[in-house]
Symmetry: D3
């Protein structure tokens, strides 16, 4: 088997995490998984949704978007269509659930953290790049909250990273780009904590059903991938 990208089956694309990418947001990270580029910002606002008012607890929610020409052909702008598509809603729900696992919401006070993941260039794996980048931006936002006195102490954060794996020509491969994703039999997105527990496992048979063995092989490969991502997140957060 030869991957279209020429990578080894267990080889990730070049991943970079650029902090402080834009200047207004409390957390702002440009995440790149090869040619996939996503701006992840975290914005802090006082107050929580109605169902949490008076609870003393905070909230984390996410929105996702793609620039119209982030993709091979131009997509209609969702703002001018007047609604977000099903794929967009599905992805932003996934990002929100994943990041809510990073930190105990009780430690946030009645504040809301808005995560915005905007894809400026797409080449497969935008949702997993978004989660991985947003977790770094989240830590930056918490640090800003601490500095501003909105938090008494820095809350414990469980780092979250995500990667896609697939079955390509019968073999499990790591971190699919767009071409590989289009040709894969199965597509599996895995969200993991830095302790190794799964937060989300979403597998879809594209061409042929998959077996438990294939699923386990893909999960093992995903674990390898996220370990590299955790190292990159850590390195990024250590620099100033």
């Amino acid at each position: 088997m030869k991957r279209p990208s020429g990578r080894e089956a267990d080889q990730m694309r070049q991943v970079t995490l650029t902090r402080h990418y834009t200047k207004h947001a409390e957390g702002s990270v440009l995440v790149e998984f090869g040619d996939t580029k996503v701006i992840c910002t975290v914005s802090v606002e006082a107050g929580v949704p109605r169902f949490l008012r008076g609870s003393g607890q905070g909230w984390i929610t996410a929105e996702y978007g793609m620039l119209p020409r982030s993709t091979g052909g131009r997509m209609q702008r969702e703002a001018s269509r007047g609604k977000q598509g099903g794929r967009t809603l599905e992805i932003q729900r996934l990002i929100g659930r994943s990041l809510r696992a990073a930190v105990d919401l009780k430690s946030l006070g009645e504040n809301t953290l808005y995560i915005d993941c905007d894809v400026i260039q797409a080449d497969g794996g935008t949702r997993t790049a978004s989660i991985t980048g947003a977790c770094v931006a989240l830590v930056d936002a918490l640090r800003v909250m601490k500095q501003r006195g909105a938090l008494k102490k820095m809350p414990a954060v469980q780092m979250i990273a995500a990667v896609s794996v697939g079955i390509y020509q019968g073999e499990p491969v790591l971190d699919l780009d767009y071409l590989e994703d289009s040709a894969a039999d199965t597509d599996l997105n895995v969200v993991v904590t830095d302790k190794g527990g799964f937060i989300e496992v979403q597998g879809t048979a594209e061409a042929a059903p998959f077996s438990a063995e294939e699923l386990n092989a893909m999960l093992a490969l995903a674990k390898q991938g996220v370990d590299q991502l955790f190292a990159l997140q850590l390195a990024a957060l250590e620099t100033e």
Copy 2:
């Protein structure tokens, strides 16, 4: 461990499949998983979406809805809110993907099969009940197409069934009802073919991350559940 429902860990709720439930649709099944009740209809229309025109191939798509008071508290009617929520879109995309795996779209000719799953009473597991019931309605619709001459021969159908599993108080349990689902640590929806291959595996950590071992235990339990569902589908389709 004692389940709130009093069932054994590997015990499904009473499942019934009532064919020809309403009279207009080409396929119409009332599926009940305990107190969860969903009307699944399949409607056949000549023609396909633009991206398939001229391909000679058919299409299967799904929509999902809940009656406003199918749930414990009344939900706002999506038609009067003016849009379908993210959860609705996510579920109907899942149903559509799952049922497209049941039959080779090329065998349908340029026809579209609309699957409508409308929950009239909800008690957990509405998406898995929908998939399981819709597959029976799909077979009925294909039979009608054959009778009407829209299909030359009955296409091969791979039966599809789905069930939810979870980790409840540290133990894997099958087919969660609403109370169990609310209290579970993990929620996993599994869509399987009658050959045993996975079509979709969607696991979400609700309270605590889950391990590969827990995932495999849940998958094994799910397989037990869908085997019972395949038997019920078969029995239902044999009667007139």
Copy 3:
């Protein structure tokens, strides 16, 4: 004259009222007028719309929907179209007005009763079946409110029933099914109280204008029909 249904001019379809049809709603009735089947639920919520706050008075409002394949051909789902059609709004406004005549709103306290009428199978007369069934569900909901202590005593209820009449081949006929309705010259929906007063009279000339004599003949027939409906409502409410 021979009706397509084979019924006598003054003969209603078989009507059944099944109480407690679903388990969550305070009132839940499946009403069947022949092949027309509607689930009517009544949901009680504390609070009233802004224009009634502080008045001590309650409110009753209604919503109506049809499952996409409740009809001969599939209709587009209103939730996915993003708006309710004119016919839907017109019918739910009629149901709401009619049921507000059943009970003195002052006796409800500041509570809102949401009536949801969802057509699962349509064969003509869905609005009149909805009103007739919803009135039974309303009584059940009031009984639940009384049991829960939300009402000190059961308020006086004026039962409301509705039926359609028409001019078919020059003759007035009662309770038109879909085929008859499509072929009728005039379509008249009549909403009546159990004291015999009219709440709504809505007549539309479909093919030819109608005269005052025809109108009076239709109203007389409608009165015969609703008298049977009042007896069925009463019988249904007497059983437990």
Copy 4:
């Protein structure tokens, strides 16, 4: 009984019909029923809705709107709310049905006539004024079509007029203004042809149910009213 307006029970408001009120539309009439003022335009466009293509038959459809401050308090503009309300849709459906009875659609060729009724000042009876004025604008539009050669000959037109009647303090009264309408027990809108047949009869009990006798008394009064309207329509159409 003394009407708030000081009029006799069977006395209509001053009605005026001003043709050619605006310059662009094929038919354009300002209709005034006392202080109620509505601009009715009829616009002719080649082509018909999809369901009539190839039938050789035309179509008539109507839209209704109120300027935001046509009423006592300012209403939110429907264009900025993003949808038309239920009352608006109900009224425009009524106007469209009523005017389709004026002329045999087959005589129009495959043309669509759009009726726009825009209320610039409201004081009760806007829907009946709209129908009455729109029928005159319709005749003007047909004449223009004839002149332009879009119609070979002027089609036969059955004039349509409409008026509201009510029960005010126990007595039937004709052509209610806003104050009277707000205080009436019953509100009945009647649409009639110049041959005396009913096109629509829509009666609603506002405060107390009404009897067949009251209904017939109101219908008789309505007939008196529309006879005056037919004379005014005729007079207006005779002038150049």
Copy 5:
């Protein structure tokens, strides 16, 4: 050069301002610039938008609409399309900004003045006619507020008027009608105070870019035009 309208280059159309045009609004003016006719109403409501609450200051906002057949061809009704178009929003933002310059918002107390400009017949220059007419209606509304005691004293008002100018066949011309506007090389809308200062200057090259000299010539012409408008506003406001 000969203008299509036959007017001199510096000649405005006949302008009329009819106060108290409709009866409900605090200010209501029909403004006519030749065949362009706009109803401008000003409605007063207690309260201000959220961002001004507690500031003691008032707010002025505007909405603009065109009747569907105010133009040569029928336009789709924005209320039924479900949104206002870009041109509409642009114009109503311009009207709002312009009128907010007429009066110190602090002098209004926490009240909101809604300006509604509805075009009943369009022949070019609807936005400038709207601004000119709305300013008169605004003064009337302030007088009503003073009479009702909502204002202690009449606030100082700086009158605002607006006119369009253009380059037609190489020459600057004043107050373009629709035909002239369609054929002009440049279109410039100018909003001015009665002290001669500019509030808005919006120039667009339609066919060819314009020079600073042309711009200045157009501005000089516009000043001539608004001086006539200020005189008409003054005269209108002096009568009762």
Copy 6:
């Protein structure tokens, strides 16, 4: 007078134009005016809007958006609000009109060029930066069309650039950043061709009306600014 930015009155911010910023679009430029950063892409699609079909002529249209946290406080995402705001529509209409002046639409054949301007960081002047950057991306897109054979020869392009000017503390200043814009008395956006003609002049009095002299002083300053922009556009387009 001292500008908040410390710049001279006639000093622009650092402007950079980065071509080929993203890989999918036919033209893709990152434009930076100081801290204002906008991604401008141009996408080519065969076909034109309905009103141009069969004309042999092309079309250029623009859309504009801001990432939710491109600004100091987070703005609600327009895609999730379900509509674009008035400011957005106004800006994208301006960009489209301006760029349609750059090239003779007849030379494009029946192709549509979609310009997307997405602000990733805002600090004043986003619309003028967008126009300036989009013009460079437009040239790149035309070159790609030429290479692909969609154009026989490179059409003549009139370069377009835009800059804002204002009156700050009584003095005209060039290229306002956000802080300066918020404090300015007047805000003027000027779009110019490389021949020196004006395409758009949009001046708004923010605090006090402005005079013709002030307008001319601002226009002169704007001309200085765009001359620098034309030089930068030229330099950018000369490199490969």
